[in-house]
């Protein structure tokens, strides 16, 4: 009987996470991406469906659902149909070990596994099978090239990614994601053993960007040379599944970076006057933009929005500390603030930097990130041993 309940629970949680990823991750991820790209390229982005184009991706999804599934002639049909599912499921499985916060007297995580970090790396590495087979099964030269590029890229960048994960696990002394967050109660790992923590975070973020095939590491799907790379031949919902997998993976990587280096769901532990100072700074910036000619410039409008948002958070923190509440905001709110800050950072990078060449890409991984990561681990191990 208990097995039956366990299975029901697993199905329920899978549906929950899939819905979260499909709606928040993929649909509003695409919306955010288009809005932020619009901002960086000084245009509006989607504006017509719903207020500020908020319903644009829902309309797009409905459109994609109605599209015909086209299978290219001489494609390997079975593999062609399986590949999008592999990518989507691998993106989904990452979320099993991501803790969202605490509540109802327990950790809000699907399963706190004692090998959480290894599990995360393993599931992230499964995506590449889907991408490679999608490229091969399409029977299209661009798709195949995209698949091959992605394989070499993802295999190379898995090592720096694992080194970044390993660093956090070393400092925390555990592989469990919940344990890693709990170990950061004294302070974020980003500032631990400076500058090694910062170095490890940088390493992880660079490798994570490459793992999810985003600019400046988007060679597998470089539009300008490969049409769309490995999913060039996919139509309708299958194409959407690739997008879903990609965004799920990107959100998972951002969440993991937040957990490893930014303290996950924990509230930043700063005195009241620091919050007040930050809030006044943000407010001053917002006021300066609002009451000068600058507000006519499209490029600064999102900065205005971000400054107001920052000022609101800082104001709430000052108020909360003044009233003597210890976690001022719910832990899940902090998790999402950090998650979206990192997602925003990744999108900002994507629309700002040009693409690397293949040799530059591989050189960066093997000649810079790998030695730096190994040295980082060595130094940290040495310091930890000395400190004991």
């Amino acid at each position: 009987m208990s097995t039956f309940v366990e299975i029901l629970k697993a199905i329920g949680l899978a549906v929950l996470i899939f819905t979260f990823l499909a709606v928040v991750g993929a649909m509003y991820g695409v919306y955010l991406e288009r809005k932020i790209s619009g901002w960086i390229q000084v245009r509006y982005g989607p504006m017509h469906v719903g207020r500020w184009g908020l319903l644009q991706t829902i309309a797009d999804t409905i459109k994609l659902l109605q599209k015909e599934h086209i299978t290219p002639r001489r494609a390997d049909v079975m593999i062609f149909n399986t590949a999008p599912i592999i990518v989507a499921v691998a993106g989904l499985l990452d979320w099993v070990v991501i803790p969202f916060g605490t509540g109802f007297g327990r950790y809000l995580v699907v399963r706190d596994i004692n090998i959480g970090v290894v599990y995360f790396a393993a599931m992230a590495s499964l995506t590449v099978i889907g991408i490679l087979t999608a490229g091969w099964a399409s029977n299209n030269k661009y798709a195949l090239l995209g698949g091959l590029r992605s394989a070499s890229q993802m295999i190379s960048y898995e090592i720096p990614l694992a080194l970044g994960l390993l660093w956090a696990a070393m400092i925390a002394g555990t592989l469990s994601t919940v344990g890693i967050v709990e170990a950061q109660r004294g302070g974020w790992f980003l500032f631990k053993v400076p500058p090694l923590g910062f170095l490890a975070a940088l390493l992880f973020l660079a490798a994570a960007t490459a793992e999810v095939n985003r600019v400046p590491f988007d060679l597998p799907e470089a539009e300008s040379e490969l049409v769309a790379g490995y999913f060039a031949e996919y139509t309708g919902m299958r194409f959407a599944l690739f997008q879903l997998g990609e965004y799920a993976e990107m959100y998972a990587m951002s969440a993991m970076a937040a957990i490893l280096f930014l303290g996950g769901w924990l509230e930043p532990n700063m005195p009241q006057w620091v919050w007040a100072l930050l809030g006044i700074g943000a407010l001053a910036m917002a006021a300066f933009i609002r009451f000068s000619v600058l507000r006519q410039v499209m490029l600064v409008r999102p900065i205005l929005a971000l400054a107001v948002l920052g000022a609101v958070i800082c104001g709430l923190m000052v108020l909360g500390i003044g009233l003597g509440r210890t976690p001022v905001l719910p832990s899940i709110v902090w998790f999402f603030i950090k998650l979206f800050a990192l997602v925003f950072f990744l999108m900002w990078m994507r629309w700002t930097y040009p693409r690397l060449r293949l040799d530059q890409l591989l050189n960066l991984s093997w000649k810079v990130l790998l030695p730096v990561g190994l040295l980082n681990i060595l130094l940290t191990g040495l310091l930890l041993t000395v400190a004991q």
Partner: protein
């Protein structure tokens, strides 16, 4: 009951793709069929409460080795690899050898006294494995890493010579 059901399902997940690996004429499909086999073995590791090995199994075998095999096929076969003969004329000889091997294994299996000892299995987590590698098995560990490093350098040397 649940354990037996899981064992049967996992065995099927391992064995059916394993048969496809050796019989398919499409070499890419063969390579891809390795993935469910590896994942099924991962399931066995989890049933044996060896979570760390299970995680590493997915990371290394399903995530890296399969991709490496696929990568090699796509680079060397001109991206096709369809319609490759997996058998030669020596099928009867091979079948005889396989039957004898199966017979031998069965004999050994049935003649062994399996000690069904009760009690807790030894502690089996990442920390224990790590300290075992760097204490009792340090020589094997270091030699293995040296062999891997040498093969890596050797591969690079061979690849560079063609330029």
């Amino acid at each position: 009951m649940g354990e037996l059901a899981a064992f049967i399902v996992l065995s099927l997940v391992i064995l059916i793709p394993a048969v496809i690996v050796v019989t398919s004429r499409n070499i890419v499909r063969s390579a891809l069929s390795l993935v469910p086999t590896f994942l099924g073995v991962t399931g066995f590791y989890i049933m044996l409460q060896a979570e760390f090995v299970a995680g590493i199994q997915v990371l290394i075998y399903a995530g890296a080795i399969t991709v490496l095999i696929l990568f090699v096929i796509m680079l060397t076969e001109g991206g096709s690899g369809v319609d490759v003969r997996q058998m030669n004329e020596q099928v009867p000889l091979g079948a005889t050898a396989a039957l004898w091997l199966a017979f031998l294994i069965l004999v050994v299996l049935f003649r062994t006294q399996w000690p069904a000892a009760s009690g807790q299995p030894p502690a089996y987590n990442a920390a224990t494995i790590g300290s075992a590698f760097l204490s009792s098995y340090v020589l094997i560990f270091e030699v293995t890493s040296l062999v891997l490093l040498l093969s890596l350098i050797g591969a690079i040397v061979i690849a560079r010579r063609e330029e």
